[in-house]
């Protein structure tokens, strides 16, 4: 996978296969700590304990289930190659939580890539499942919640409409662009704002 965004798209398909009706994608980037984490949490059927033990082993897992194969293995390899960590927590009947951590500046860390395209492609494959995407970058935060769209339209099928998806794509692109600019005024939380002023003085 050339982009972390493609891993996110791939892993989220497992959640939908597991019958989840809510998927939370949370990305946290901290340039000072030089850390980046990607977490995909769902309320799907979960993974039985005996399978969880070697869930990232492509050979063991593909033989026992079709819903996980190389996807988790590749995601894990990418994190471990970047002084990071990789964890899968799951409880049958409650859901699964996949978390990859990277050293953000590591030379081998794949770029995040095109998150707006990943989000709309996820929505196209999600049916009526809810997607909550949270992205934090040095204290600035962007949140997209698909529930807001279906509520606005009062129609669970609103996200199958290509015109709505195009809107979502631009909304996500602008939101991410905004948090990528440290000097953007409106979304800066108090602590960061103070720090910036002190830094300039």
């Amino acid at each position: 996978m050339k982009e972390l965004a493609l891993h996110i798209l791939d892993i989220s398909q497992n959640s939908i296969t597991a019958g989840a009706d809510r998927v939370d994608v949370t990305i946290r980037e901290d340039s000072k700590q030089d850390r980046m984490s990607i977490e995909i949490r769902d309320n799907g059927s979960g993974i039985p304990a005996e399978m969880l033990e070697n869930i990232t082993d492509p050979f063991v897992t593909t033989r026992t289930t079709r819903k996980v194969g190389l996807g988790l293995n590749l995601f894990q390899a990418g994190a471990l190659a970047c002084d990071g960590s990789f964890d899968v927590h799951s409880k049958p009947g409650e859901g699964t939580d996949v978390k990859a951590v990277y050293r953000r500046s590591h030379i081998d860390r794949a770029p995040l890539g095109n998150m707006p395209d990943t989000i709309v492609t996820m929505l196209m494959s999600f049916g009526h499942a809810r997607l909550v995407y949270t992205h934090e970058l040095d204290g600035r935060r962007f949140v997209f919640d698909s529930q807001e769209i279906t509520d606005t339209f009062d129609d669970p099928d609103a996200l199958t409409d290509p015109e709505v998806l195009e809107w979502v794509r631009e909304f996500v692109a602008e939101g991410l662009d905004e948090i990528s600019r440290p000097d953007s005024g409106e979304d800066i939380i108090e602590g960061v704002k103070d720090e910036k002023i002190t830094g300039r003085a």
Partner: protein
């Protein structure tokens, strides 16, 4: 310009006026392979182009869907086009530009694009000749 909720509401009100237009699902169904193999091979840009074409051309009765791995990973990205009578054509090694051509010639024009199809001979899948446009 920040995307506003007002803009979204305007889309909603317009959709309400067109109510029923998208309800008739009697048209073509386009299915994109979205397993790990498909995604790694480039299914996402194909999917996004499909969305753009459906939007741009106002194809209200086209259904877009996904499928998992069907065991032909070497031919990904794979796209199935299913016509209103249930006939299925499988396209292989898809790209966004190939997707546009399939929409234009097959989904709108009704004629499958033979350059991109998968061929089966004596039960064996014959890899398509790679054509450079």
């Amino acid at each position: 310009m920040k995307k506003s909720l007002e803009e979204l509401k305007a889309i909603r009100d317009k959709k309400k006026a067109e109510l029923g237009l998208r309800k008739g699902k009697n048209g073509y169904k386009v299915v994109v392979g979205m397993a790990t193999c498909g995604i790694a091979a480039g299914a996402r840009p194909v999917m996004v182009r499909l969305m753009e074409e459906v939007n741009k051309r106002g194809l209200t009765d086209v259904t877009v869907a996904q499928t998992g791995c069907i065991g032909l990973c070497r031919l990904e990205p794979l796209v199935d086009v299913i016509d209103p009578d249930g006939g299925k054509v499988t396209y292989v090694h898809m790209t966004p530009d190939k997707m546009s051509r399939v929409i234009e010639e097959h989904v709108i024009g009704g004629t499958p694009v033979r350059d991109y199809t998968m061929n089966i001979l004596d039960g064996q899948i014959i890899d398509p000749v790679v054509r450079e446009d």
